[in-house]
């Protein structure tokens, strides 16, 4: 199964609006997608669920591993990596 490791850079990490942006993007793909917080040694949880995403407590600076399984897995991973690297729509703060 393809996976990527990426560092979350936007100020508020994966909660609030950035978390919503992330789960909504993940939900557009057919593949089963999971995310784990490498800095918390978390479980791999459903990346399409805001509730599960919150359980892994991703702060700015944490590294996450995203794994996708399905027909559009590679496209899903590329999209989600780009989103995270672009700051998930959150303006950078000082």
């Amino acid at each position: 199964m393809p996976s990527i490791d990426v560092r979350v850079r936007n100020p508020s990490g994966l909660h609030a609006r950035p978390a919503t942006t992330f789960t909504e993007a993940a939900a557009r793909f057919e593949s089963r997608i999971t995310i784990e917080n490498l800095d918390r040694s978390s479980r791999a949880v459903d990346a399409k669920s805001i509730l599960f995403l919150l359980t892994i407590g991703v702060l700015s600076g944490h590294r996450v591993r995203i794994t996708a399984d399905g027909p559009d897995a590679d496209a899903a991973l590329a999209t989600l990596r780009d989103l995270i690297e672009a700051g998930l729509g959150e303006a950078a703060e000082a």
């Binding site: 990490g13 609030a16 599960f52 919150l54 892994i56 407590g57």
Partner: protein
């Protein structure tokens, strides 16, 4: 760091949720009133001042209904701010469910409020709370709870009894 997200003082739900922060059967005509009920519970427990209630409402106005994180459950919160005196949670069940405008998780019958003085504590407390709420059986039991004590014992059971010794012990005098 372990998987239990033990960093930060905010990780124990029992310690964050005294009985004074639990309201059963609140009346609310709409989502703003539902969040106001949560705000009052946070103020009553000493965690926040009234300004935080307005900040929680502003969060929904800005970010939309994303705070409805599971069927029937809204997680009212805002950023760490001067209106937060200390980390705290509240739990409010509604006499009648209200709509928040969420595509799939409306209507809301349980509002959980969360306040934290800093980002790390905020995200840790959110993580612990979200983990509690991922279990459908626990969610159903919460929604059925008829009094604050039942809510506290559900959380204590989840936390292996640790919630029986809250840090602040504001309810120790209760009969």
């Amino acid at each position: 760091m372990d998987a239990q997200l033990s960093s930060g003082a905010g990780a124990s739900l029992g310690g964050l949720l005294p009985e004074s922060a639990i309201t059963i059967g609140a009346r609310a005509a709409d989502w703003r009133e539902a969040i106001r009920a949560a705000g009052r519970a946070l103020v009553a427990s000493g965690a926040t001042s009234d300004a935080y209630t307005d900040e929680m409402i502003a969060t929904v106005e800005t970010l939309g209904a994303y705070i409805v994180i599971a069927p029937g459950i809204a997680l009212a919160h805002s950023r760490p701010s001067p209106a937060v005196h200390r980390a705290g949670m509240c739990l409010v069940t509604l006499a009648r469910p209200v709509e928040f405008g969420h595509r799939t998780n409306d209507p809301v019958s349980l509002v959980v409020g969360l306040a934290a003085p800093d980002d790390e504590g905020h995200v840790s407390a959110l993580a612990t709370l979200a983990d509690f709420l991922t279990d459908e059986g626990r969610r159903a039991a919460l929604l059925r709870a008829g009094d604050p004590r039942t809510v506290r014992s559900l959380i204590a059971a989840y936390e292996g009894g640790a919630a029986g010794q809250p840090d602040h012990a504001p309810d120790a005098a209760h009969a």
